[in-house]
């Protein structure tokens, strides 16, 4: 972490961390504007930008029409012409209409113009399930976008990471997709250092050190994995839990260092298994650390169905619990 201007910190949850960071960004840089649906008068559906419009004006906090493609596209144009826009897609499930603007345009502005034009853009969106959100308020989208060169993607799990990474994303000269797991908004609290700081993109964080198994995760499941790992500690087993934090770029060194040490790798993510993040991590580890592995790499992931359901049993079936994660961890440690 760079430039922590004070040693004091404040306890806050993830949604508060987003809000506080956005507020400071708006205050410190005139070029920063926020645009999205209901971000102005309503202050965002999770109240993240509550009262921003009063303080910064409707010129800087823009309630857009319901038009996701142009929310991103207009933000792209703003960024090309010198502003530092932070676009919000109200729920990650609504991001699909703006897919071309993200993948075909924003990601390629610098590349196609040979560096003459750039696109310093942040797209923020709440994602993930466990909130009875069903088909259109629960999806994980990182696998759709992490494939795209020119984009960056972060998914912090803890409030101190939320702040540091959001600041870094805002400063980043390239488009960053900032994923906020909506269930962690109020569920996850932590100490957040005061003052401005950034956490570099592409750096994972060992949230729990261990020796017998490496568990790689992010988002809500990172917290469940920590809980599961703690259960195993009670049983005398030692599990290391690595919070990816950054999906693209992804921290190769941290993953490999951990796997060298424990020789076993379990990847846990909420997103569907087939073609999810875990597939890329597995391939990389198999390529680079095969002879360190004492067990096959395992992935504990969302089932390959279009969505978790609204009915509780359907949501629970889709999502993994700390107990399930503990079972998977235990089996791997004992393998």
């Amino acid at each position: 972490m760079a430039v922590v201007s004070s040693t004091s910190s404040t306890v806050m949850n993830n949604v508060e961390a987003v809000r506080a960071t956005l507020y400071e960004a708006m205050k410190n840089d005139e070029r920063t504007v926020i645009l999205g649906e209901d971000v102005g008068a309503r202050g965002n559906v999770f109240l993240i930008t509550k009262d921003f419009i009063g303080e910064f004006g409707e010129r800087r906090v823009i309630d857009t029409p319901i038009a996701e493609a142009s929310i991103v596209g207009i933000a792209v144009g703003m960024a090309m012409e010198g502003l530092r826009p932070i676009a919000e897609i109200q729920f990650a499930d609504f991001i699909y209409p703006s897919f071309n603007q993200i993948v075909g345009e924003a990601a390629k502005i610098r590349y196609r113009s040979n560096g003459e034009y750039t696109c310093p853009l942040v797209i923020r969106t709440p994602y993930g399930g466990g909130v009875r959100g069903a088909l259109s308020h629960s999806v994980s989208i990182e696998a759709l976008f992490y494939h795209v060169p020119g984009l960056k993607i972060v998914a912090p799990a803890f409030p101190d990471d939320v702040k540091g990474l959001l600041n870094a994303a805002i400063d980043d000269p390239d488009p960053v997709l900032f994923l906020e797991h909506k269930k962690t908004y109020r569920l996850i609290k932590g100490e957040v250092p005061d003052g401005h700081y950034t956490i570099p993109l592409g750096k994972a964080n060992v949230r729990k050190a261990g020796t017998q198994l490496t568990v790689v995760s992010y988002g809500l499941y990172l917290h469940w994995a920590l809980e599961a790992a703690e259960r195993l500690t009670q049983e005398g087993l030692s599990v290391e839990v690595l919070d990816l934090r950054s999906i693209r770029p992804m921290d190769k060194t941290a993953i490999l260092n951990s796997v060298e040490k424990t020789r076993k790798l379990l990847i846990v993510h909420e997103d569907n298994k087939f073609g999810g993040i875990g597939a890329e991590i597995s391939a990389m580890v198999a390529e680079e650390a095969l002879f360190s592995l004492d067990a096959p790499i395992r992935r504990l992931c969302g089932p390959d169905v279009p969505s978790m359901g609204y009915a509780m049993p359907l949501e629970e079936e889709f999502m993994s619990s700390p107990a399930e994660m503990a079972d998977a961890m235990r089996a791997m440690v004992k393998f």
Binding site: R263, L290, F291, S292, L293, D294, A295, A331, K334, F335
Partner: protein
Amino acid sequence: MPQLGETVTEGTVAQWLKSVGDSVDKYEDFVEVSTDKVNAGVPSPVTGTIRELLVKEGETVATGTPIAVIDEVGAAATAPPAAATAPPAASIAPAAPAGPAPQAAQPAQPSPPAPSPNGSPAPAASSLSELELEGALRGASPAVRRLAREHRIDIRAIKGSGSNGRVTADDVLAAARTGAPAPSAPAAAATVPPGTRTSTYAQPIPGTTVSLSQARKIIAERMVESKHTAPHAWSMVQIDVTNVWKWRAREKDRFERETGYKLTLLPFFIRAVVESLAAFPLMNARFVPATAGGQPSIYVNDEVNIGIAIGLPANLVVPVVRGADKLSIKGLAIKGGELIDKARKNKLGVDNLAGGTFTVNNNGANGSWASAPIINGGQAGIVTMETVVKTVVVRDDDSLAIRSMMNSCLSLDHRVVDGSVASGFLAELKRRLEAMGPQGEL
């Protein structure tokens, strides 16, 4: 050891109902096991013969531990899985291979000096050959393989702490720290009783490897080259050698006295060949493939240099009678005799072997009646003398006679000559040889 209750974690072998060597049917109880909850007979999973009992009566082991080995009737057998290397196995380990099986066994030959890849008694780690090390590591994880290789540890000798007795990387490291483990566990791969069937795939067909001499290597290469370059066609003609045979018989003693060489049918044959070549010069040619930018062609030799194929014990040589068309039968006999003599004494020089334009092969000396020789590279054909057989023939007037008949076979390069030329040549050869008789001059 089966799990005989939900919360049961171990069991005791109360009584073996079968002994080693006994046969057992599928579903027939072969052992009685007791746990803290239950006493039960355990049925065999296969029909076969008890090969080994791994646990003593009264001994308690954890559920999942192998307790017996049964050779299944009709299945390929494998070595008894060492406790150390057992894959996730059933509690009873049949000999039918399951997953990453340990190395196949062979009829036991105590052979520590010549390590084989298959089922020898587990030697001490330091004397492990690469092959044995690799064999033991089949089925092990990449980390275990690497560590076992680095530390030269025989993992078959380690009691694995992983699931189902798997040897883990930590186990290998622990073993390395405490020194190379002596082959310890009683359940380690022991010698296999004789008569045990082995997997057909693991056992090579018995035989001896014969390494090639330089000469044989070259012969092999030349043969392939000739066959793969020239399209071989074949023709045969039957020659009545009764008269020439008589002639030879009349001359042979004097010839041997005068020259010291034996007079065989060969020089007569070669004489007929060179005369026939004069009539069919394309048989004395070679095909010249196109070179870069050029056209293919046929080169007709002016010289007639006849190679005589001679089979020696370890070699096949074709010394050449140069200018054979200029030699009489006697001259051919002498020259031929010289070359054969040199060949047998391994005294042929390069100049004896070079320059052949056509080859004769006296296969008949071996008793061959017909053969399809391979053309000597760079020539258009090779002709044989086959064995002489007294044969009943039908004459033109339909009367029968007993004549000495000899086949002559021709392999020809079809790029140079066609059947008509080849057959013409053979017909000419036949005519001339049949025309030879005691009235001629050698």
